[in-house]
Symmetry: C2
Subunit: 326 residues, 2 copies
């Protein structure tokens, strides 16, 4: 870690995406809800890959995407996540460091390979994800120190990390360090099934130490145990924290107590690939928020970043395109 403080440190599962086009029957055979993220083990990953067709590989992971976009916008960023010391791990690390992100954990040299998320894309554009966590499961409380995340003005926690054995303790450690330093804690809810798996922990954080809570409609309704967006929005207002709620083509809503900001989505002529749109939105939002923009301006920059992500293949817009927005 350099002596310079950074604006953002993300803590998340470090994952390489393996993107493959499949027919709907393929998803049905998996018995996975279309659009969901399911965790699979090593043997399941091998069996799944054997059944899959040709793929394209790229560094991914939700909060890792956000951190990468944040850096491309011009923000100073650090990253905490475990890859293995293998080719995919080196690719993941390269794609972070090459845009200026400080990766703060060395590669893991134990048995498990770098994590991969098999992203199965059906002809309607829906993505069903099967994730083998590999080296991600090695993240431990001892990885989270004042050296690795103490300098971040915002520590961004990924909900998915609660799926790893020591993830919950590690995240608690990150919260403690941030609070001691009077820094902010942001929580990305990851996906609605993840919210259900770790509801008590997320709800406690949202009601307590988290300053910013980020999620889409399904994640917010799961968090508050309500039926629709209006109810989730009301619950968020009652909570009092800053809630960043993305709604795909319906735009986004930010609430902070009585303050409510509505931001329309950009009109996109052709949606090429919606992968990573939410992650890019969060990057734009946090970048503007860190430099002191209004919530409305921050929502606007998030929207522009999401629009870039949607009009290209893959989760992370070109650094040069983001740089022109930052």
């Amino acid at each position: 870690m350099s002596d310079e403080p950074v604006a953002l440190v993300g803590i998340s599962n470090a994952i390489v995406d393996v993107l493959c086009h499949v027919e709907p029957a393929f998803i049905k055979d998996l018995d996975a809800p279309p659009g969901s993220m399911t965790l699979i083990d090593r043997d399941q990953a091998i069996a799944l890959y054997d059944k899959m067709g040709p793929s394209v590989e790229s560094a991914g992971g939700s909060v890792a995407n956000t951190v990468a976009c944040f850096a491309s916008l011009g923000g100073s960023a650090g990253y905490i996540g475990r890859v293995a010391d293998d080719q995919l791990g080196r690719i993941f690390d390269h794609d972070m460091t090459s845009i200026g992100v400080e990766t703060r954990l060395p590669p893991e040299t134990r048995d498990a390979p770098t994590a991969r998320c098999h992203v199965l894309i059906t002809p309607d554009g829906e993505r069903t994800m099967q994730t083998y966590l590999g080296a991600c499961v090695e993240i431990a409380s001892t990885d989270i120190t004042s050296n690795t995340c103490g300098d971040a003005r915002i520590v961004l926690l990924e909900g998915y990390v609660w799926d790893t054995p020591e993830g919950p303790q590690a995240m608690q450690q990150a919260v403690s360090i941030a609070k001691q330093a009077n820094h902010q804690v942001a929580l990305s809810l990851s996906d609605s099934f993840c919210v259900e798996r770790h509801h008590a922990a997320f709800h406690a954080l949202a009601s307590g130490d988290a300053d910013i809570i980020i999620g889409n409609e399904a994640e917010m309704t799961a968090l508050f145990g309500v039926q629709d967006f209006a109810a989730a929005s009301a619950a968020a207002q009652a909570n009092g924290g800053l809630f960043v709620m993305t709604r795909s083509e319906k735009g986004s809503v930010l609430v902070r107590g009585d303050e409510v900001v509505n931001q329309a989505a950009d009109r996109i002529e052709k949606v090429v690939d919606s992968t990573g749109a939410g992650d890019a939105y969060v990057a734009g939002f946090l970048y503007a928020y860190c430099r002191g923009d209004s919530l409305q301006a921050a929502a606007r920059l998030g929207t522009q970043c999401a629009a870039l992500a949607i009009q290209q293949v893959g989760a992370r817009p070109k650094p040069a395109d983001l740089a022109s927005l930052g």
Copy 2:
């Protein structure tokens, strides 16, 4: 190898593409002709990757792309090329076998990693390639036997293989096996600089044992040592063999002695990525040619495959899209 004969076996450098968007200044600093393919060594590859931004990885290689598309169209195909026993090698192998290609060499377990081609894409869409051959250089004459390529009705040789130490002998061995079995030999010229590097060998093959010679305008003019396409076309006619000449947006021309077939390119509303268009064309052409279609019909199928390749990112069109053409 199964006992069933296959229609096509391709012999080529087995390469994983590492695709990255760069500014024109990046290419200038490399001192590489824009649009060229340059061979680099391991240290150069490491230094280059350190300078590059985030990338996307996918199985590539010119003739390997052709073999993959041929199989997706419904053709029976085998493949001979060396990958290492590493993650990128397993990805390459998976992307072949998952669409039914029989890969006929085991992964190499010596020191060199799987080859990678750094594809540097400038904003005008031009691709400059820097290739580290890695495990490809291990290909040897002993790899080319009646078991690995004796069953192929067409053996497709990639010009780039002449860049490897034992490549020229290995390719000569493949020619001998094909000729003994009364099978056909096709030669893909790879690129005009490659033609210049191995001009004597390519010219001898084109004038002798090769039944089908495949290349674009620049490659054909380099082969015949002439200034323009009209002269190359005349030289091809005088040669008497079957020449498949691709001309990008100008379509393609096939000549076999007096027989000349002109095929217009499809009108493409938006060129997304021209990577692999020529490789896909060759797959469509060979697939139709193998099943006994006319040259015109074969040129037509080649054109349709190229159009698919152009309208998506990456070198290999979706197997499902190709299957609907085959």
